[in-house]
């Protein structure tokens, strides 16, 4: 085992950006995510999942990460379900606001905003496609195999 370097340890602690955060009158202690946890966030498929996980991962107490405590980590879901925290009419939810704050102190704001922007653009395009539909009748009587071949041959991939 290599020598333990107190300076490096304090540096890693400083990077945790431990801070108090109050939302809707609820006081939280939050800390930034480690590299491993950031990797987990980056594996999420959606913006909502990213925010959700960031909130779970970023909770702390007495300058210790709740998620790292095997026993306490079991209570994280219970916390988010408490009536004081899970306020139904609130949008964004308390958890979402906490997750967003954790992302900010972890330097992930740009990443999650990119994901959100992409999701919104996809929703717009999906809505546009839906609006373009005129029922479920398949207007395929005029399609010919020659046309399909021609379209495929002349198509240039976008990427």
């Amino acid at each position: 085992m290599g020598n333990f370097n107190v300076g490096n340890w304090f540096e890693s602690r400083a990077n945790l950006n431990i801070k108090s955060f109050t939302v809707e009158g609820i006081d939280f202690e939050l800390m930034a995510l480690t590299e491993d946890l950031i990797d987990d966030i980056q594996l999420c498929d959606t913006y909502a999942d990213m925010i959700d996980k960031a909130a779970d991962f970023g909770l702390s107490y007495n300058r210790k990460r709740v998620y790292d405590d095997v026993e306490l980590a079991k209570d994280i879901n219970m916390l988010w379900e408490m009536p004081e925290v899970n306020v139904a009419e609130l949008s964004p939810t308390v958890k979402a606001q906490v997750g967003s704050e954790v992302c900010e102190i972890s330097g992930l704001t740009e990443l999650i905003e990119d994901v959100l922007e992409k999701e919104r653009a996809e929703d717009d395009r999906a809505a546009e496609a839906r609006a373009h539909l005129s029922g479920d009748d398949l207007g395929d009587t005029s399609i010919t195999l020659g046309q399909l071949e021609s379209d495929a041959t002349t198509y240039t991939t976008a990427a």
Partner: protein, 126 residues
């Protein structure tokens, strides 16, 4: 003129944009199957088993919507971004539970093949 087989499905283009109501048209397909003939004392002719589908490959085009096809817009080929060699060629996963169900079903061999292709597209771009 034979009718081009079409169906509605959600597809994605090579930039991962999704089109939930796309009109998909099968452009090419290749199917291989095996038929077995059994002779029996009880019957004069060979007794043929149902063809056993061994592989299905296909290429397909899509329009983002039915209306886009009606409007006369060009279709685009479905692209598999993970297939560098032949990006618009797709192989049906015949071992998938949905495929097995269709193969064991009562559809005609041709309808089975197109149904397998439709389910394959639906799974790929879900």
């Amino acid at each position: 003129m034979s009718t081009v087989r079409t169906f509605r499905a959600k597809v994605k283009d090579e930039l991962e944009w999704g089109y939930p109501g796309a009109l998909v048209a099968v452009r090419q397909f290749s199917e291989s199957s095996q038929t077995t003939g059994i002779s029996s004392d009880g019957v004069e002719d060979y007794e043929y088993t149902d063809p056993s589908i061994e592989a299905i490959a296909y290429r397909a085009n899509y329009w983002p919507s039915v209306q886009a096809q009606v409007d006369g817009l060009k279709s685009r080929p479905l692209i598999d971004i993970d297939n560098q060699e032949d990006p618009d060629l797709f192989i049906v996963d015949l071992l998938h539970a949905q495929s097995i169900q269709v193969i064991n079903g009562a559809l005609s061999p041709v309808d089975k093949m197109f149904r397998l292709i439709e389910l394959d597209v639906t799974r790929r771009f879900a």
